[in-house]
Subunit: 348 residues, 2 copies
Amino acid sequence: MSPSEQTIRFGIMGCADIARKVSRAINLAPNARIAAVASRSLEKAAAFARANNLPADAKIYGSYESLLDDPDIDVIYLPLPTTLHLKWATLAAQKKKHVLLEKPVAVTVAELDQILGACEANGVQFMDGTMWVHHPRTAKMREFLDDKHRFGELRTDNIRVKPDLDSLGALGDAGWYGVRAILWAAGYHLPKTAVATRAPVLSEQGVILACGASLHWEDGKSATFHCSFLTHMTMFLTAIGTQGTLQLNDFIIPFEEHEARFSTASQARFNDQVTGWEPGPVTEVVGIDGVPQEVCMIGEMARLVGEIKASGAGKVEMEWGMRSRKTQQVLNAVKESIEKGFVPVEIA
Amino acid sequence: MSPSEQTIRFGIMGCADIARKVSRAINLAPNARIAAVASRSLEKAAAFARANNLPADAKIYGSYESLLDDPDIDVIYLPLPTTLHLKWATLAAQKKKHVLLEKPVAVTVAELDQILGACEANGVQFMDGTMWVHHPRTAKMREFLDDKHRFGELRTDNIRVKPDLDSLGALGDAGWYGVRAILWAAGYHLPKTAVATRAPVLSEQGVILACGASLHWEDGKSATFHCSFLTHMTMFLTAIGTQGTLQLNDFIIPFEEHEARFSTASQARFNDQVTGWEPGPVTEVVGIDGVPQEVCMIGEMARLVGEIKASGAGKVEMEWGMRSRKTQQVLNAVKESIEKGFVPVEIA
């Protein structure tokens, strides 16, 4: 068995709704298994284990501390509310546990920097829980975006999302996906400025219910996103290049699990009579070979952890952490732009 | 033969590229025929007649004035450059010719008001040359948007266009379509304010090559559009309601002439395991029964003119003119917002 094929032991910290899906993914991933689940209540942890087909030998803990003290855990999967991330992710790293952290990863960039610093200092892997980037469709879409002939240079992209996943503000939830997708399309190059769109919708308590922003790069590229808790579930992404366009309407969670689609148009012109397109768009269908995107994510995390374990502690891969950090930087700039009256905010 | 079935005689004023497509549409429309074509050069008009299968009895004129003086012309189709619209559309109306005017209809709202005033005073019909609103798909999409159960209330929509139709600024060309589509989705209710997106791209001569804006309604509804001459041809429209989402990628000119599609999702939720959508999206396919959208447009213009002719001069239908005017109002507000440094501009 190669280092990347050893079975990595996951501990689930907190029984949030999303943990059901991730525990299924850990069960399905060939190089991962659920070794423990912890809740602040032993009964709740036990009920979660029963309801989600956890392995019979998975340990049940009634506190997060005891999970962190278990020497037989490699990775902590942490779906706690965002405000608790700093404390528990940092503690997990200090206990030499690798960290798979649900999004949004932190309230501020400064908090995330503490988490990432703790991971690096303790030689543990960090990854956030964004699943769609691990879907094989995403790699196929990357091929299209990287094709100078079919797509050319990215000029603009545009995202609208409204998943009903959790109760955090729309910017941290749907906005996280929108910003992450924009950064993905832009090859993770940070924009220079963010400008919030006017008239965001806030709750009486100041929670963002709907907002948007435009992002602007030094090279003239631009992107817009909009996120809302107030509309029908919508998650489209359109990336427009000089030679082609990529479009899909289900980038966060594909309509169907077994296969996912995206549409491309390239070098399109109107026909001579201006009554149609030549060539027309192409729909690409990407099957998952029985491995859903969240299983790909767990598999990738386990592979990275396996390599670290095999090589002895030391240098960890920081790219996933940097991607989380850039997402957080943009989100915070958008929030600042809203607070300052829709002025452009420089992204450091 | 009912009034609306009489054959209406069209005169084509100017041999612009788009006139090829419209002359084909007039040839195909059962209640319309091409009675004349005019250019500033007799040779050019004759060459156009030959190249575009104009009827053998169509008259060929070497000046626009002689076309307007022909008593056997009912409608002038006017595809001249925008800066010439005020002069020639007004003259046409004064000569009691109905006016089918290419977009963008005018440089300013004040100019358009002169044109519309001349049409109303002279009892002639006005319509702009926006073809997609006449496609039977548009009526099917309207049904979806008007369905309180499937779509709910419109909250936001979003348009990106880059057709390569003519050499005018992107705001007047692609932007015209984007704004018109937004107004269409909003039931032609004007937004309260327009705010241009920062960092539009201007040529050295100050022509808008790429820009965008967000539009905001009193009721909290919002829309964004982006238009560009610098990207691959792209024309998507997404309308997001409280209960559903409408999406299509070819709203200006469908990918194929014989049938057009759009996608809807309604009351969608994630499934229990959060691994797919329930229900998924539905693709609706709308055939054209051999009548392309531009033929529908000509047919509608001829029908309206036929009714006016049958009833004797008098009251003309002004709704098409009002739609053009609202589009122009929003375009001008966006331009003003760009010029004033991206401030919100009230739409009167």
